[in-house]
């Protein structure tokens, strides 16, 4: 069993829609949770990270962790075509265990 499983997608949404991305993880000892964004033919870049449970907001992005159900989510509000990318949940440390990624396309 992989340490982190991600809903595979792909997702195609109209501009302005809310995008919801989800992952589950297996080890309740994990403390940090990260979301990476990967544009086509580029390396992943850190989008957000959270520690423990709860919500964290950064502009149009909200990361949510529910440790009781071992569930992590990323929400993108008012999605833009520039948000079109693959989103990867990841768990450290020190090496990252990644989900399979969800490719999101935001249609103008």
């Amino acid at each position: 069993q992989k340490e982190v499983e991600q809903d595979p997608g792909p997702l195609s949404v109209p501009e302005g829609a809310i995008v919801s991305l989800n992952c589950t993880y297996s080890n309740s000892a994990f403390q940090y949770f990260m979301w990476y964004r990967q544009y086509s033919r580029k390396g992943p870049e850190l989008l957000m990270y959270t520690y423990s449970s709860g919500n964290k907001e950064d502009g149009r992005f909200t990361a949510q962790v529910d440790k009781s159900s071992k569930y992590i989510s990323l929400f993108i509000r008012d999605s833009q075509p520039s948000d079109s990318a693959t989103y990867l949940c990841a768990i450290p440390p020190p090496q990252l265990s990644f989900g399979a990624g969800t490719t999101v396309t935001v249609r103008a």
Partner: protein, 115 residues
């Protein structure tokens, strides 16, 4: 340079050929990681260095894969006798320290195609 640099960007190898992939991490970064990303999948961990010490190589898929970082900066991932299943993007990442909340910065990857 300001970021992680990988070379070559693209490599086509004939089956059975040896290849060497290079990673130049961000200057001063202690930790260096190699990942393998198959098409449509998330990156899979291969190996991890802290300075010149290879602390974890549990993700290397076979003994044909070898990585080194002799002076604690540049790293090379070598694949001997390449097979078609080795075709993937190989990503290198570096981070300032080994802490769990430390951001890892990725290079653009080397796309290896074995024909």
């Amino acid at each position: 340079g300001a970021g992680v640099s990988q070379s070559p960007r693209y490599k086509v190898a004939k089956r059975g050929q040896d290849v060497a992939l290079r990673c130049d991490p961000i200057s001063g970064h202690v930790s260096l990681f190699w990942y393998q990303q198959a098409l449509g999948q998330g990156p899979e961990f291969l190996t991890y260095f802290q300075n010149e010490a290879q602390l974890d190589k549990s993700g290397l898929p076979s003994d044909r894969f070898f990585a080194e970082r002799p002076e604690g900066s540049v790293s090379t991932l070598k694949i001997q006798r390449t097979q078609q299943e080795d075709s993937a993007v190989y990503l290198c990442a570096s981070s300032l320290d080994p802490g769990a909340d430390t951001e890892a910065f990725f290079g653009q990857g080397t796309r290896l195609t074995v024909v």
